[in-house]
Symmetry: D2
Subunit: 372 residues, 4 copies
């Protein structure tokens, strides 16, 4: 139902105006490196088509995902909210999934079977993904819907818990309903980023209740219009899986191995966010400038997110302020005043766009060995 | 002395690489001036949605049209070809129109009720627009479909007659069927531009059989992906109407007052194409360069199409070759060597991107009066 | 001789206008707002031409400054280092200034008479600006050069004190020579930004010895090649003067009323940097989102520098992380979760690109009044 | 049904590739292919520095030429017009050449020793290049200057003969002076393109008097400001030499083997212009679209000039008008309706931006062999 609120459209247009200066090419592939022991899988597990309240046929969602270089998507149609039912009266809630599966069959894109369980507060909106059959999840009582989804082995997450249309303070309210779901092991994740919204209180809940951290586009219209043409990427969830297969991705989601990303905002547990940023930055060259104690270090950002860093060493930089941005896909040279000649040193940078807890940025380290 | 250190130059070049960011707008509004006695109306009367073999809900077509600054659109679903009928079994062929009408109601965009009558060769594909009810046009026999459309007062045009899938030589074949339609007054227009294809043989047929010249996008996916992101505009038909109302636009179509446009290609009858280009170019300043016989003329292209011109006067230019391009929305200065001081002269330019017949470009004239 | 004809320049400018559509500006005008009681004057007081070791005639420096929208420049040729003396043997060290003055006479650009006093360490490089005659400043002994410059009433500043070619650790060494200059009141300012280099240790010295904070381009080649084509602005010094006149600007420099700027790096004393950022951000709209406690605040960056902010209030944001960038010349919407309805609140943001001391960012406040 | 044909999708993607040009870099390397028997050498043989009335030191001219990918330049200072003589009083007119030679020594750029012989009409401005010593060419009488230049073996060409400041009609006047120079074999070339100006009357003179066709920048300020930032290349002369050596280039100039180029304007003798365009267009693929008589031909423009073509065959195109542009460095697909299946055909295109005589465009041919 979210897309019907005119206030949201108003916000969208403000965003549009403020973003118009810096627009560019209408599709940018997302890229992130693997981390030790795991493959980094790029997912968007929350989106809509004409089979609920979206505006495109499922094949467009597949093509958008291929343009964005995603590995996995799920079409999570509202089971209960079917504004196009006059024209699409099909009683089978699995059609969107089946059509996407067909469209994706010749491409390197996995389709996760999913559905949205939609209620007003306090139950709110929730996605069940890795389901087997959407139809029996359509239930009168919310409890039964969650029960059925879990019976099918679904991974279930709470959508936009901070949405002000359901929670006027814009902060998530963990109701008895949610608490009981968590207790029963029927709720496993929580969106900390949904479309344009990031809520640090949702991150706090993820940590407190041990829920998996999620970021999704919740797209209803076109990815290009909502994100790309304004210079943005869609929000995604990076999943750190043992293999790039559906069972392995599901295992990783249950195990909480994720980072949610929206442009230069990266939110995740320290255990995954730190190695992700570490591997996103490649140290290309380390050497002293001739006749000086200024160590020249070339850093390359292999990811598609700009990385904002703050110097966390005791040394100062020769030609940059303590805070600097390493743009996606580019290299920057740091000149570090080590004050004496050192063969080895540890570069420590605080990642200001990355959060491991509300307002808490991780510090990332790289070992540097100076060459001749 | 500082600039002599080669290490700094090395840093400069690294910096250079990291700063390379290209952009472009993902949507360009179409603009064309009115011509004497008529209002210039921008139309796209051939497109598809999920209600036949397109991939979007009708509201997306309305939003795309608003972004392109169109005045009129028609959703022309295939009556007979319904690949989504498993999911959209609705027997009412008017739904697409009704949904678009609803979406457009608060915008300055007119929706024409239309349908596509689809057969294999020799009948081929045809659009009937300005219809009243699509359902009775769905007929077993093609003849009856045209009869019914015409009974409703429809304006009917032949789609992509040169399409090589239906005509392997890529040239239109005017069959007895088409000839009889024309004879009976049941076929009124012909596409000379369809999606990326322009056929000068179709233009020849338009002139021979007195059919209205049409250009359309025939879009099935997204306008942005098919056209805008490649730097193109969609093909359109400019209709020269007495008023910007549906009856007036219909009258103009029947009267043949159109120009088909695709980027810098403009195809139309001389009576309309010549004043269109004349009014698209505004003469902003005419004066002699001091102490010379070189007349400086500033031309501004008010349209959204690049205009390619060839000098058709007896005089040569001072700083341009005889053939030059006046880009959309920009100004260029012509320096004309008039050889003596003239108070008045006629600037004549052949419009190389404009066709009034196969391989025949019109010559456009502007009267120039030199100011002091 | 051809380039002397003004009519040709007129044609050039016409050409410029007509070509503007398809390129991008190779120069971006610098803009910063005034602060209470003072006019903000944009200066670059360190550059070179063919009259020392630069590569352009002085008129190019004037034209570059006009393109960058500067208010004041100074050509500070090395008095002692004259690599082009074989070809430019002129004994008068004021020629560069005189030619620039002539070139600037019809433009809104002030030329400050200046010179560079160049020695190896420990004296290093120093600029004397607001001098009367460069010739007598050329002295065998460095002491006498400073004495003469000061006799002429010059404002004198230390150039790139952290330059590793003169100080291998890349940190400034305040020698007895410099200390004695400061003691005698003969050294008044210090560069904390020189070309691409920012040294926080130089900022520390500025604060410790009460020296005016300076930023300069030190350009030898072309501003476009060194800065603009890589997407950078040249470094400048903003001077907060009572009037936009040379005496008033000189007074402000002696009084230490400056901020040094390089792209999104702003370095200055708190008293000037805080109101500069305060006035650079205009609050355009403050109102609650309907039926919520989410306060929507539209901020506009009036300056030509991107501003990187961190939320310094107790409230969290609805749709942005705590750290966000307000790009030059654009607007952003903050959604603040005030948790209750407040008529007034104070927005506090830490400016992460701004330094009032080494690694110390200022916090800027704006009073917000919610409208209906 | 049209959208289902995969061949169309293939065409769409070709289109995508060819259209991918978004912004411009602030310097574009010039590129042109060799022609049979000759190496194509890119030259600019007319420019100025501070050593006459230019505004930069000679090293900047070398760096600009390297950015533009030129092979040969000449700094042609006015011998008689020395507006900077107060500051640069050097009596040796060879200094500009010597400094450029020094700057270029580590680069793949040849420096031709040259000078400009400058008089008012009727003698006008003339460049002598491939000289040995500029000093003796500075003569009271123009006749003697030409005599001395020729004694040194110089190649001499007439600059901007159509310049309205010397010829108010903007057309070249071949005076008795010029005629006698030609007769004596002392004038060998003529500029048909100088800075922004192209004169077809100068081309007529080149053909009538058998003078070599030249194009030059005549730059005084910065190439970037005059050309690059407006999206233009500087004018150049392509010289078709047996080897890339100075003697060989000189031989080619005397033999008249040149083409003058400014952006998409190419002016030259048919013998060189035709093979230049032929080799600039590579035929990458020739095959019939399945089940059709539409021949698909992929053309790639290997040069840095846009090429404007008009169909000169008897066949029409499937998806383009008869006039189309093949942009620099990109590919376009022609779909030719051959009406029957042909194993071989000759593609003939008139090059509308190319002139082999006033208003006379050459027709270029390529032999096509259809593959399976």
């Amino acid at each position: 139902m979210k897309n019907n609120y005119s206030v949201l459209f108003f916000l969208f247009s403000l965003f549009l105006v403020s973003g118009q200066e810096h627009t560019h090419r209408s599709s940018r592939p997302l890229t992130f490196p693997d981390i030790p022991n795991y493959i980094t899988v790029k997912t968007d597990l929350h989106m809509h088509t004409v089979f609920s309240d979206g505006n495109v046929w499922p094949n467009i969602r597949v093509q958008e995902a291929l343009r964005d270089n995603l590995d996995v998507i799920s079409l999570t149609e509202h089971l209960e909210y079917q504004p196009h039912s006059e024209d699409i009266p099909h009683p089978d809630r699995n059609r969107s999934y089946e059509i996407a599966l067909q469209e994706a069959k010749d491409h390197d894109l996995l389709i996760v079977h999913g559905s949205e369980i939609t209620r007003s507060a306090p139950m709110g909106h929730n996605n069940a993904v890795f389901i087997e059959d959407a139809n029996p999840i359509l239930q009168e009582k919310a409890e039964n819907a969650f029960k059925e989804a879990n019976k099918q082995g679904a991974y279930v997450f709470w959508n936009h818990p901070a949405w002000y249309a359901q929670s006027p303070k814009g902060t998530p309210i963990m109701s008895d309903f949610q608490k009981s779901l968590v207790e029963k092991g029927q709720l496993h994740g929580i969106e900390v980023i949904n479309s344009l919204d990031y809520a640090e209180e949702s991150l706090a809940l993820a940590l407190e209740y041990n829920l998996t951290i999620m970021g999704t586009s919740d797209v209803h219209g076109l990815i290009d219009w909502d994100y790309t043409e304004k210079g943005n990427h869609r929000p995604i969830t990076l999943v750190f899986a043992k293999e790039k297969t559906l069972p392995s991705i599901k295992e990783a989601l249950f195990a909480g191995r994720t980072v949610a990303i929206y442009n230069d905002l990266l939110v995740g547990r320290e255990a995954y966010l730190v190695p992700l940023i570490q591997n996103s930055v490649k140290v290309n060259s380390v050497k002293y400038i001739k006749d000086s104690y200024v160590l020249e270090v070339v850093l390359e950002n292999l990811s598609s997110s700009d990385l904002i860093f703050e110097n966390a060493t005791e040394y100062s930089f020769y030609s940059k302020p303590a805070i600097f941005t390493l743009k996606a896909g580019t290299s920057e040279t740091l000149l570090i005043k080590t004050l004496e000649s050192m063969e080895e040193m540890t570069l420590k940078l605080k990642a200001l766009g990355a959060y491991i807890a509300p307002r808490k940025n991780p510090i990332i380290s790289w070992n540097l060995s100076a060459s001749e």
